[in-house]
């Protein structure tokens, strides 16, 4: 099988190359003094300096951050509810309905979700006068809606592995269900809850399509601003911004996986 291994390795390496080459080139040329992503005209930090003075990008960053924080929090709370219902409640009456409606957003094209949410907000406004216009609040609702379905998937996976005996023991000793949940279940599934929150946060922070439909004047998110800039051509400031964002995410992801690995190997040693 030696020949096949060579093919496997070269195709695999090419795959990683496709994933990383654009990012690496962009990071290198974000320090380029010139505007082009091809001609090196000396090292410079001017695009990073320009970034700090770009009020439009900075305020969009703030808007996105605010939206993602709220959307992720709402999504996680509802995601916990969905996961608990599926894993703990057995065959309740509306199980099929909840299961269908909680998994459909996972596969729904963003462009359909965005358009339909906007149409709903408009008809709600004409019926009840709420939400008046579109803005940060409508984006939060839209992001929380699909975020909770992803959060539910993550939390459910962890809840399934959970040892029911602990909960049953607590119940035998007279603890009420909500008390058991808050004092036993929640601490145990905490890592999954954090992961779910981060996932919902990332999905919200990166979303362009849905936010474009349900945003209003003055509530442009970071992806909306980036998209409109990129459409007009390559802007080196975006290189700098992307580099900053990618480095932050990379440090967080590598740090998190290192911490998980350390904890796991520590646990193995204790046993």
């Amino acid at each position: 099988m030696g020949r096949m291994n060579g093919l496997v390795l070269s195709l695999g390496a090419l795959g990683f190359g496709i994933l990383y080459l654009p990012i690496i080139i962009m990071i290198i040329f974000s320090f380029n003094a010139g505007k082009l992503v091809s001609v090196w005209s000396g090292a410079s930090l001017k695009w990073y300096a320009g970034l700090l003075e770009n009020d439009q990008l900075l305020s969009a960053f703030g808007t996105s951050l605010l939206i993602a924080l709220w959307a992720a929090t709402i999504a996680t709370i509802f995601g916990i509810c969905i996961a608990v219902a599926f894993v703990r409640f057995g065959n309740f009456r509306s199980r099929l309905a909840l299961s269908a409606i909680a998994s459909a957003p996972l596969v729904m094209p963003e462009i359909v979700t965005g358009l339909s949410m906007l149409l709903l907000f408009i008809s709600m406004e004409s019926l009840f006068g709420w939400p008046s216009g579109r803005g940060v609040d409508t984006i939060i609702i839209a992001h929380a809606t699909f975020g909770m379905c992803f959060a539910a998937v993550v939390i459910q996976a962890r809840l399934r592995d959970f040892d029911m005996a602990i909960e049953e023991a607590a119940a035998d000793l007279g603890a009420t269900q909500p008390f058991i949940f808050l004092s036993i279940t929640l601490p145990v599934i905490a890592p999954a809850v954090v992961a779910a929150w981060l996932l919902a946060f990332t999905l919200s922070f990166d979303d362009l399509v849905i936010a474009s439909f349900v945003s209003g004047p003055g509530s442009s998110t970071l992806p909306i601003v980036i998209f409109s800039k990129v459409r007009l051509g390559v802007t080196p400031e975006i290189n700098a911004l992307a580099t900053v964002m990618i480095v932050v995410v990379a440090v967080a992801v590598i740090g998190a996986s290192w911490a998980i690995r350390r904890r796991l190997s520590g646990r193995d040693q204790n046993q």
């Binding site: 099929l96 998994s103 709903l120 909770m148 992803f150 909500p178 590598i254």
Partner: protein
């Protein structure tokens, strides 16, 4: 106050609590996910007008009693301008299909490589696969533009090395679309493939080799059948969002790479014809119904946890 709330929560009767846990997300999703789809269906059957909102109400009760503006005109329009609407629809399916295939060609050896590595390398390679996933896909597409542009990195490097005489047109072609799709969706293909490959028993392969099976025979009779569930799951995860993709055709494609997402976007934002945009949304859903239902009932499993999820590996 928090303490009071906690006390109230703890003493809540179990049945009420249970109902609340089910009802809260169910109501939220019914209102903010299901109702919007119904509303879109309604708007797709009404006509456009000048005003806010730019469409007639489908039905209502006015001075003369009940009225309705029901029309199938938007769908008739889609049929009448067949090549403008169904053309992009076929194009979407074609581009999504070949993108899925290209992703599979790269993801299969990559997953195999990861699954057969030792534990340390496996973690490193998996993090390398997941990392782009946590970064903005919009920015990664933007990075790709810098690479493929006529005055971008690849052309500049090719000219400098003397490999090419003039810049090659890579942007606004099917090639740039496929590159964008691979860049965006490759991790979605790798994760389910890796999940089945890492469970594959190495003894099986050794036994087959000991009995004289050739590499190709082992692949065809053992590896391929056992990894088929991963291939199906990964292909659905790539194909479904790829059909409705907007950002990739908008930024990397030209007039020949029209896809449904872009056509819907143009109808909505540029032509402001919301009923036609809604009809396109319904057409897109109709196209995706088969793969979506297939994905959901693949093995008759009914919960969301069974949906293969890209970021679940991270949660472990």
């Amino acid at each position: 106050m928090v303490r009071g709330m906690a006390k109230y929560l703890v003493n809540l009767p179990a049945v009420t609590g249970r109902r609340l846990v089910i009802a809260l997300p169910l109501i939220w999703l019914a209102v903010f996910f299901f109702l919007p789809l119904i509303e879109t269906l309604q708007v797709s059957f009404t006509s456009a007008r000048r005003g806010i909102p730019p469409y007639e109400p489908l039905w209502g009760i006015g001075d003369d009693g009940f009225f309705t503006n029901f029309t199938t005109g938007n769908y008739a329009l889609l049929l009448q301008y067949w090549s403008d609407y169904f053309g992009p629809a076929f194009n979407s399916i074609k581009l999504a299909f070949f993108s899925t295939l290209v992703c599979l060609i790269f993801a299969y050896p990559m997953s195999w490589w990861i699954a057969r590595s030792n534990e340390k390398w496996r973690t490193i390679l998996l993090v390398l696969v997941m990392l782009p996933f946590w970064t903005s896909s919009l920015l990664r597409i933007y990075a790709l533009i810098g690479l493929l542009n006529p005055n971008g990195f690849i052309n500049a490097a090719g000219l400098w090395l003397g490999l090419i005489d003039a810049p090659i047109q890579m942007m606004q072609t099917d090639f740039s679309i496929y590159m964008g799709m691979v860049l965006t969706y490759l991790p979605l293909m790798i994760l389910p493939l890796y999940a089945v490959m890492v469970r594959l028993d190495a003894d099986l392969l050794d036994a087959a080799a000991d009995l004289g099976g050739s590499g190709m025979q082992i692949f065809r009779t053992i590896i391929l059948p056992l990894t088929l569930p991963g291939i199906i799951a990964g292909s659905l995860l790539v194909f479904i969002p790829a059909v409705g993709e907007f950002v990739i055709p908008a930024l990397l494609g030209g007039p020949d790479q029209l896809m449904m997402g872009k056509v819907l976007w143009t109808e909505f934002f540029r032509n402001r014809d919301w009923p036609v945009a809604s009809a396109i949304a319904m057409l897109l859903l109709a196209i995706l119904t088969v793969p979506i239902i297939y994905a959901r009932y693949q093995d008759g499993r009914d919960t969301v946890a069974e949906m293969p999820n890209p970021k679940r590996a991270e949660a472990g």
